[in-house]
């Protein structure tokens, strides 16, 4: 159990590092990102192989609940659960299945805690994911925003608050109920913690303000870093849980675009390397993306090709 908690925390921290490395001066450092991706892989393996099928990460209340699985392989989470990750068996079941539709982040089933937030976030992320690869980052940002706005009804604070709500049992659930997002294309559960986690550490509240704004560019990402770091100072819990999932997806997405657009060279190569680490380690990831992509048909081909 502790291993799972620890592994999860490490996963989220690692993702945050990968995210931050993109805005670091001097370009992406291949060595550091390779090491981070190795840690990510180990943590993920530990996480998935931890034989506690029905238990979820205990939240601060420390009460691990065993929610009844609503669907085979469906992740369920009690209110106090941190991430509401799907149990390993379900995760494993989820991965080979090209049908993650019934699967959704457990948070979305957290009764009465606005669990839809993370779903919306993840959905937004999922939407962003296919959207990302096709075009330049700026355009992709726009696409990120639009689906997210669509899913969330154009409100801010979707992404960061979602995971936060889940994590803190006493945390006030965000007001927004994202039913459409829930019914939308939920990203597969296994990638969710990664996305949320990374966004939590690195993205922070990035992207929270005005998701419907014009396509974000790098300066904005930089400026988003400040609020996120400020947030982290105030609440160490948040630094891991909160985050803009779409931001993280934009990371992966822009790496996809890099892969597809440029021949490997320099910074792009480094992105490849860093992304290929976790990606290569999770071939199932791509399978899981497919159902997400189904809803976003224009980009599905590209991702599948990748």
């Amino acid at each position: 159990m502790e291993f799972k908690l620890e592994a999860h925390r490490i996963v989220s921290i690692s993702l945050g590092k990968i995210y931050n490395s993109r805005v670091q001066r001097g370009g992406i450092k291949l060595h550091k990102n390779l090491l981070v991706s190795l840690v990510l892989r180990s943590a993920r393996q530990v996480y998935l192989s931890d034989p506690c099928p029905g238990l979820y990460l205990a939240g601060p209340t420390g009460i691990p609940t065993v929610p009844p699985p609503q669907q085979p392989g469906e992740p369920v989470a009690g209110p106090p659960s941190g991430w509401g990750e799907p149990p390993p068996p379900s995760a494993r079941a989820a991965w080979p299945e090209p049908e993650p539709q019934p699967q959704r982040p457990s948070v979305c089933h957290t009764p009465g805690t606005g669990s839809s937030e993370p779903v919306a976030a993840v959905a937004g992320a999922g939407d962003a994911l296919p959207g990302r690869e096709a075009d330049s980052a700026a355009a992709a940002w726009g696409r990120v925003e639009r689906p997210r706005a669509m899913a969330s009804g154009g409100g801010p604070d979707t992404c960061p608050e979602g995971p936060r709500a889940v994590r803190r049992p006493c945390g006030c659930p965000p007001a927004r109920e994202e039913q459409p997002a829930e019914d939308g294309s939920p990203a597969p559960p296994a990638p969710c913690p990664r996305k949320r986690g990374a966004a939590g550490v690195g993205g922070g509240r990035a992207g929270c303000p005005a998701p419907g704004s014009t396509p974000l560019k790098k300066p904005r990402r930089n400026s988003e870093e400040q609020p996120s770091t400020g947030e982290e100072d105030t609440d160490t819990d948040e630094e891991m849980e909160t985050g803009n999932v779409a931001n993280l997806i934009s990371i992966f997405g822009s790496s996809f675009s890099g892969l597809l657009r440029k021949s490997p060279a320099g910074g792009r190569e480094e992105e490849e390397a860093e992304e290929s680490g976790p990606e290569a380690a999770e071939p199932g990831q791509i399978c899981c993306d497919k159902p997400v992509l189904r809803d976003m048909s224009p980009w599905s081909t590209a991702i599948v090709a990748f």
């Binding site: 001097g26 370009g27 291949l30 840690v39 060279a265 320099g266 490849e272 290929s276």
Partner: protein
Amino acid sequence: MVLAWLPVASAHPHRGRHWSSRSQICVIVNTALTLWSTEGSTVKTTAIEEVVNSRMTRTLTEIDSQEESSGHSLLLQSCRCSSQEFCPADIISTVEFNYSGDLLATGDKGGRVVIFQREQENKGRTHSRGEYNVYSTFQSHEPEFDYLKSLEIEEKINKIRWLPQQNAAHFLLSTNDKTIKLWKISERDKRAEGYNLKDEDGRLRDPFRITALRVPILKPMDLMVEASPRRIFANAHTYHINSISVNSDHETYLSADDLRINLWHLEITDRSFNIVDIKPANMEELTEVITAAEFHPHQCNVLVYSSSKGTIRLCDMRSSALCDRHAKFFEEPEDPSSRSFFSEIISSISDVKFSHSGRYMMTRDYLSVKVWDLNMEGRPVETHQVHEYLRSKLCSLYENDCIFDKFECCWNGSDSAIMTGSYNNFFRMFDRNTRRDVTLEASRENSKPRACLKPRKVCTGGKRKKDEISVDSLDFNKKILHTAWHPMESIIAVAATNNLYIFQDKIN
């Protein structure tokens, strides 16, 4: 092993440096706005202004100081950074003695190189050893922007390597992430006077006014040290350069980045040969990168490179043009009991150094230093724990990024001792013969002149004795990554963030 170390000199955080326009006086201004100036080879300090609040604001002011009696005017510029105790551009990123040990070069994050020279021993004072004074300062690299990849190229000096001295001038190689430069540092202490075509002010004389010819005569002048770039080796590395190493033939050198090692000739800048390439055809299969590389000190065909997986490969350039197949492979089997999430990170080798004899090599990973015999590939002959007490703290060190710190290591002149840095401004020395080790601290409080450094101890658990420091009170922002040992004498240079400390053994 020398156990008693005395501070010789320390350079304090400097805010700005400026070369006087006329006389090449190097001006270093520290946080208290004290002017350090060098004339010739002496350092004199002149307090210009005491700033109570040393946190300088972001005003960029140019202060014209009064004319020095020698007629040099100096310009001071305050540093642009604010609300920090020191400017991050002043963080020292490399330290290197030259072959004779008379010169010590440091590179910093701002792309500057500062060279210290050892004062000639005064015959009258037999018991005073030479002190190191600033000899030359120059801006080696500037920040660049790669427009094609939209990447900024940092100007931080990653490595400096001296070339063996062949004439009166000194040559060194300095590199940032992408470009290597060969610098010539030369002295000028004579000036020609009596030109025919130029006035004393340098203005061209009207040719019609010249009625007589005279031979210019050389007159002595104040010593001026000039640094000029002689070669620029660029555009050969896709990834970040982490090492350079001059070959024992003194004609070639290697530069290593994350995936490739290139061989250069010092005279030829438009060509380099790729001798090692570990880039996989599919980047998704990337599992390890090159972390350090070095030429053998005597055999000009042998080089080693270390990897992020904790392995070292020795290559012989005679075997093939592309040395992808190693001649020797050094790896210690991993201890399965100590496996953790971070086993891979802490096994990544951050530095590899040949011994002066060429028989051994030393590698530094995160927690230990290992000495390898080149003839035994299966395991190291010695393993020294640097800060084993950090093994239980790896997770928090991963969070604050300290686990990625790349510590360097160095041999002493006789290969009997090795030194490496740690946190809290501690550095460790290991005597290979007596198997003794000592932990010392480089800090201003401990660096009173003629006061020996006290050995420090980190309390790992249980009751903390007096004078011990507990692991939790270590300052992980104060790290000593770069150290250098004089090639022949017992003098060490330790870089603690933005301060340079030089210690020498106690004179009995």
